[in-house]
């Protein structure tokens, strides 16, 4: 997918995680030594099963989680100790986007403009108009999908160079998911922002993302462009020594994910993105350290 055209009003910002570890209480590890660098531009999918650490990683960049060790940085600013500076570069859509029940959509825009200097109110109002969301409607009268759209609109209207979206599709129906994804892609293309979108359903995000990060048991299991991932993996319908991992297919047969496309034969075919993700997740589970994390 081509790199989106940049809007002059959006600065560049890099997302970084440096040995980022987060532990809840004494035994539950959400992130274990994450090292990532996401350069500006494009839409990145952060996928992984439930409890993989996706939300914790995103919330670390929003400054909602204090790292146990390591650092999360946005545009070079530490997201915890320099939260204000880091947040100026971030627009955020949470897992359950919730509006104030007693406040109208228009009042949300006004409030957001008060909270975030430089918020583009006209852009927000225009997009809400395009989405046919009534400005006078109270938060409590909007559906979950509409609330998610309003929150995304506010995040986009911040004109932040980074849009962090934490499983915003979870509560949406299939049509609303499709519309939301379209909006996200459009927003990233129009503003030139970097979008990071997490989901535990690879099918939701595979079509529109440029880069894929697979997170499992608190570790990065795969970090690749979508094109590279598709180009470098294949599937064998029979077990192959040295494969990335074996995992069950929908028809209860066992598939092997191969890291390259060498040796393509009768039982070997190109891997789909979902199979690549499943294979790497299975490999993550096989990892002894990963098992220790699971046990915790």
């Amino acid at each position: 997918m081509s790199r989106p055209a940049r809007n002059d009003s959006v600065a560049f910002a890099t997302l970084e995680a440096e040995d980022l570890t987060k532990r809840y209480g004494r035994r539950v590890w959400a992130l274990r030594g994450i090292n990532l660098r996401i350069e500006p531009g494009g839409l990145v999918a952060l996928v992984g099963p439930n409890a993989a650490g996706k939300s914790t990683l995103i919330r670390s960049w929003v400054g909602f989680e204090r790292p146990t060790s390591g650092r999360a940085r946005v545009a070079g600013f530490d997201a915890w100790t320099q939260r204000g500076d880091a947040l100026r570069h971030v627009g955020y859509v949470p897992q359950n986007p919730t509006l104030y029940e007693a406040l109208s959509v228009e009042a949300h825009v006004a409030m957001a403009a008060k909270l975030r200097p430089g918020l583009d109110r006209l852009l927000a109002l225009r997009r809400l108009g395009e989405l046919n969301i009534p400005l006078a409607a109270l938060g409590r009268h909007l559906s979950g999908g509409q609330q998610a759209q309003v929150v995304l609109t506010l995040a986009v209207a911040t004109r932040a160079p980074v849009l962090l979206m934490d499983e915003p599709l979870a509560s949406l129906d299939p049509l609303a998911r499709r519309e939301f994804m379209h909006l996200v892609r459009q927003a990233v293309n129009e503003t030139g922002a970097t979008g990071l979108l997490s989901s535990h359903v690879i099918g939701d995000v595979a079509e529109i993302c440029d880069r894929l990060i697979v997170l499992g048991v608190g570790r990065v299991l795969l970090d690749s462009t979508v094109a590279d991932a598709l180009g470098r993996h294949s599937i064998s319908t029979s077990p192959v020594p040295g494969s990335v991992a074996d995992f069950p297919a929908a028809d209860r047969t066992t598939l092997s994910l191969l890291r390259d496309r060498a040796g393509v034969g009768a039982n070997i075919r190109p891997a789909t993105l979902e199979e690549i993700v499943l294979g790497h997740l299975a490999a993550g589970r096989r990892d002894p350290d990963a098992r220790a994390i699971n046990r915790d």
Binding site: R59, V62, F64, E65, R66, R83, G84, D85, L87, R88, V90, G91, Y92, P94, N96, P97, T98, L99, Y100, E101, A102, L103, A107, A110, M111, A112, A113, K114, L115, R116, L119, V151, L154, A155, T158
Partner: protein, 309 residues
């Protein structure tokens, strides 16, 4: 007021409209009862000045007048006790849900992701509520002061019901509010925070009262007890132990089986005259402001570190 500011004020009021309604209704009821009690007490006193104060009726039968006055005096007493509880109730009811409900309802993550400064968000969110709280409790404090004045029948009420009237009412309300908000942030859940805040605020206020009273007692002086004519120095005074005042001016509080040994001394009492009330008021205002500021700093720190759900 620009649109955004008015939207914050509107948001703050709408989010706590039930609590604000409770506060408004309770304050209005209090005010109505206080005005009635003060009016009735003043009417009786003005019409029958000889039956009040230290003059004791001057031989005129005041029983009918006093019978008319007693119900209003009792009402004033109840209202003065209510002025002790209202700041705690208002502070808790408004303070606990202010942040806790935002965390519970997951609106905090929207606001906190938009605002580069949570402190700024907190100030915008709390100031309208604090303004209403202070205004309402100041009204209650003034009403309670008027009740105390009416009951004192023209004398200086001094230390009588000293912590249930005047500036202490809004100050204690602010202390309760800040403590409640702090626990609301820590817990992130309204109900447990409410219970914990109630315990904390009551303990804090008892501690403050006992602490200041101990400090105040150090300044107490020996006041000889004079039966005829009535000793005006005791009106509105803060009284402590009975003592024996020796001819050389020294004071003895030695007791045998609980009874004061008088010896050659005259009966007296350790106390602070009503005139010292304003000294003490300044002390308590200062102590309260220091405590409120300290709690507020903890609130700021807690909200910066709070993890939204």
């Amino acid at each position: 007021m620009d649109n955004a500011t008015s939207s914050w004020t509107s948001l703050s009021f709408r989010l706590q409209r039930v609590e604000l309604l409770f506060l408004g209704a309770a304050a209005a009821l209090y005010l109505a009862l206080a005005v009635t009690a003060v009016w009735r007490l003043n009417v009786e006193r003005t019409a029958n000045p000889h039956c009040f104060g230290q003059r004791g009726g001057d031989g005129i039968d005041c029983s009918a007048v006093l019978a008319n006055t007693i119900p209003w005096d009792h009402l004033a007493e109840v209202l003065l006790w209510a002025a002790l509880g209202l700041p705690i109730a208002f502070g808790l009811v408004l303070g606990v849900p202010l942040v806790a409900r935002e965390v519970e309802h997951q609106t905090a993550q929207l606001a906190w992701s938009l605002s580069p400064s949570r402190t700024r968000w907190l100030l915008a969110r709390t100031m309208p509520i604090i303004a209403v709280l202070v205004l309402t409790l100041a009204t209650v404090g003034v009403a309670a002061e008027a009740l105390a004045q009416a009951r004192a029948a023209g004398e200086d009420p001094g230390f009588v019901r000293y912590d249930q009237r005047g500036v202490f009412v809004p100050l204690r309300g602010l202390m309760a509010f800040a403590s409640a908000m702090l626990l609301g942030i820590w817990f992130g859940r309204t109900l447990p925070a409410l219970l914990a805040a109630l315990t904390l605020v009551v303990a804090l206020l008892i501690g403050l009262t006992v602490g200041l009273d101990t400090w105040l007692a150090r300044d107490a002086v020996a006041i000889p007890l004079i039966s005829e004519p009535p000793d005006m120095r005791l009106v509105g005074a803060r009284l402590y132990d009975e003592v024996s005042i020796m001819p050389d001016g020294t004071v003895s509080s030695e007791r045998v089986d609980g009874s004061l040994i008088m010896g050659d001394g005259a009966a007296g009492v350790m106390g602070l005259p009503a005139a010292r009330y304003w000294d003490w008021t300044v002390r308590e205002i200062g102590a309260s402001i220091v405590i409120i500021a300290a709690i507020w700093l903890l609130v700021m720190r807690a909200v910066r570190r709070r993890r939204p759900l």
